[in-house]
């Protein structure tokens, strides 16, 4: 992958896909810088990194209607631990995703007469690390039956690391529910696979972010679905290790 023109992005906030009407996104990931200079520092200031933090800001065009971005973002202000997933790409399975629980600090909209109605928002860290991960399942194909997704070799989880996963159920029609799991295995046959994360059963659009402690020696990962009834669910699952 080389340099890229910023033509496509997925911004999932809770159970809503905001990216389709967004036209600017900025994520800042930072650590406090703390001075440690002493008499033994050789005449130069010395420093170390302290606590980390991140913020996401963005904007685009407002839409009004059931389950569209104005209502979604208005209702998400001050909601704690709303999972955020940001993909600087199409969000297809196998591509890069940044994700973490957030709190939305603001939502701003409307403007001067004659302008296309804009929106802007900002989201902030809740203390869980910002994870650089991979889209394990995209929403290009709906989930309608029990089964498994495509496997990806994403690596093992160290003893002092955790595997994190976020689920965004963007729509669920029909009658029934789906339980989504994140599974790992030693190779791409997934023989003897192990369920590492199990999300709550979803019978309606929802979102959740969970984690599990390492170590996990398995390097292959995929999603699994257990479907009850006849739901038609479009969902996104992202996973990463930190």
């Amino acid at each position: 992958m080389a340099e890229q023109v910023f033509n496509n992005a997925r911004l999932l906030v809770g159970r809503f896909d905001i990216g389709g009407k967004s036209n600017r996104i900025a994520m800042k990931y930072s650590a406090d810088v703390k001075e440690t200079t002493t008499f033994g520092s050789g005449g130069a200031k010395t420093k170390v990194a302290g606590l980390t933090d991140f913020d996401v800001s963005g904007g685009g065009l407002a839409e009004y209607g059931a389950d569209l971005n104005d209502g979604a973002l208005f209702g998400n202000v001050a909601v704690l631990d709303s999972p955020l997933t940001l993909c600087p790409n199409s969000g297809a399975a196998g591509l890069l995703a940044f994700f973490s629980p957030t709190v939305q600090g603001s939502y701003e909209t409307l403007g001067p007469v004659g302008d296309v109605v804009p929106f802007s928002l900002d989201l902030h860290s809740r203390g869980t690390p910002l994870v650089r991960g991979t889209v394990l399942r995209d929403d290009l194909t709906a989930v309608t039956a029990t089964g498994n997704g495509t496997g990806f070799q994403l690596g093992a989880v160290g003893a002092n690391q955790r595997v994190y996963a976020a689920l965004h159920v963007l729509s669920l029609t029909g009658s029934g529910s789906v339980v989504v799991k994140v599974r790992s295995a030693a190779d791409n046959t997934f023989a003897g696979q192990t369920d590492r994360i199990t999300f709550a059963s979803a019978a309606a659009p929802a979102s959740e972010l969970l984690s599990a402690a390492g170590p996990v020696a398995d390097t292959w990962w995929r999603v699994g679905f257990t479907v009850t009834g006849t739901p038609v669910a479009t969902l996104v699952v992202v996973v990463g290790v930190k």
Binding site: F6, I25, M27, Y29, A31, V33, T46, A49, P88
Partner: protein, 137 residues
């Protein structure tokens, strides 16, 4: 050597050569200026140099490939100080191609920052810790 146009600078962070994505590099090096003015007949302030300090500010075309900008920088945030090496030319250090090296604190970084249609870019200013060394060989 006469003046030079910056065409082929070398930049490595934590041992990873990111020169091919580098679009701008700035080193700021200085010392605190501490006033020592006392009662005297000169009528002018007097000062001395105190602790030295430096910062490094690279700018890149963002690249999410393994081993490139984002994969190198993201994991460093909040962690241990890392080495940085900079030369005006991507050639061995020499009197006409000095090498600047030191340790920097991984303080902040924007993995994604852009408007639709723009070339994705990123950059940061990381503060140094300890001495900035200038070598000519």
């Amino acid at each position: 050597m006469a003046e030079m146009v910056l065409k082929n600078a070398f930049f490595s962070l934590n041992g990873v050569d990111l020169s091919s994505r580098l679009t701008k590099i700035t080193i700021k090096y200085g010392a605190e200026v501490i006033e020592t003015t006392a009662m005297s007949s000169t009528g002018a302030k007097t000062k001395v140099a105190g602790l030295t300090d430096f910062s490094v500010s690279p700018e890149f075309n963002q690249d999410y490939a393994a081993g490139s900008v984002d994969a190198t920088v993201f994991p460093l945030i909040g962690g241990a100080n890392v080495p940085v090496v900079i030369r005006p030319n991507n050639a061995v250090a020499s009197p006409t191609n000095p090498q600047y090296s030191g340790s920097v604190v991984p303080g902040d970084y924007s993995p994604v920052d852009g408007t639709v249609g723009q070339l994705l870019k990123t950059g940061f200013t990381w503060e140094g810790s300890g001495l900035l060394v200038r070598a000519t060989s």
